[in-house]
Amino acid sequence: MNPLELTLGIMTAVGGFVDISELVFAAKAGSMFGYALIWVFVLGTIGMSVFGEMSGRVAAIARQPVFSLMRHRLGLKLGLITLAGSLISTLITCAAEVGGMALILNYLTGLPYALLAIASVVALMASMWILPFQWIERTYGLLGLMMIVFALALVAIHPPWAMVASGMIPQVPRGLSPKELLTFSYFVVAILSAVLFPYESYFYSSGGIEEGWGPKDLLTNRVTCTVGFGLGSLLAISILAASAQLFGPINVSPEIPGSSALEAAIPFGRGGLLLALLGMLFAVAGAAVETCMSNAYAVAQFFGWEWGRHVKPWDAPRFTLAWIAVMLLALLIVLTGVDVMSLVEYAALFSIIVLPLTYLPLMLLANDRSYMREHANKWLAKGLGWLFFVIVTVAAIAAIPLYLLTSGGQG
């Protein structure tokens, strides 16, 4: 294992962990419920580490991408339904990320939102066309590390650390009215969905195959998924905790994505504001690339086309056309003028619904010794895998009723 490669992998995972949904839900959750929802980020991150590690291991050993597995394990009909659900939810997420990028660029430049959305998509497509896979992943992941300013801001505002730590224990705050309890439950589901977005494992495992992972890479996979995702999650928790400290007491429950940047501006001034906005911009841009490519990976793998960024774009023409189409469709959605916050909510809602169907075949294959040999899931991975499968299934069933009953978390 090359220590430099490992360090870069971890840093990329940290910088690439947070996306627009986590930014929005973390800030709102902190302002509305104080530190009481931190445990959901912890739980979701453990789940993401479990499924991410599993998908990376399957990529390294069975060399099977997620959607190829899905077609074989679920059959064509159920596989197609899952594919369609995943494509829709990931396309909405991609549109939310593109809209988020345009908004953040608007805070930085003051230029018109629609123009910035078009410029963002052109820049993203150029980077996806020109850069090889590893550089795409690292460029956005490493630049997203500027988000560390949120962790530093949290330290600078001196939060009640004991309360922050107690937020890591699963809990429901006492004294909530039935309505508040429903809103709390909605945020539990929304945060779980935002942390466990299915595109993350499609992108991660497809990336493993792009990079030619084999058994020698299993340790890198495990460390990246546990340490990288864990540290990345700390950034989202920092946003939540700073929001609880700064926004909650003054009745702000951030309605605009740009409000999160105030968390860094309050202790550090303009420098903090700029670092926060740039970190958010690159983190969201990275997520836009991941969602776009995930959809292209999904379609190409399901139908058995040539795919990947390890080949020249014209050597995998249907895959290339797929990611170009996804990005242009995302731009079209943004240009309709739909509110980014609404897109974020729809993305979380649809993603959690398709989540169980995408994780089940992956877990079944990771359990299968005929494919995975001695690298098949052991008791711990099996136990955690089934536990999280039950959790995401319950969350998927509860998602739409909670969304309707709480007007999308508004109470």
């Binding site: 608007n106 003051g110 309505k179 702000v252 309605e255 504001l273 700029l274 007007s407």
Partner: protein
């Protein structure tokens, strides 16, 4: 389950009155408080002019959306949201917090009713 979304949205659209307006009141209250925070930090020299202008524009647009979605615009909360929107961009943070505070009171009284 997906059939529930249009059904729920249709039901929500049909319901009228303060209960149906609560989410908009709550969002307007938060937007007023966010505006006050932006102006306070801007006055302290901690924000860039571009960011401040963009945030104020977004807040105004969101407030306009909330105001136009009210089922009872001629109501104490409708008047309060209109008064908030009538404030100048660089309004004093305390004036904005005053509007947000009044909306919070209305929100609390409607929730406890």
């Amino acid at each position: 389950m997906r059939w529930m979304l249009p059904v729920g949205l249709a039901l929500a659209a049909c319901s009228k009155g303060p209960e149906a307006d609560l989410p908009s009141i709550s969002q307007a209250r938060s937007l007023g408080a966010e505006w006050a925070l932006v102006n306070e930090q801007a006055n302290a020299g901690k924000l860039t002019k571009t960011y401040v202008a963009a945030m104020r524009k977004s807040i105004r647009e969101q407030l306009q959306t909330r105001a136009s979605s009210l089922t009872q615009p001629r109501s104490p909360y409708g008047d309060e949201i209109a008064a908030l929107m009538a404030e100048p961009d660089s309004a004093a943070p305390n004036a904005l917090r005053n509007h947000a505070g009044k909306l919070k009171q209305i929100e609390d009284s409607l929730e406890s009713a």
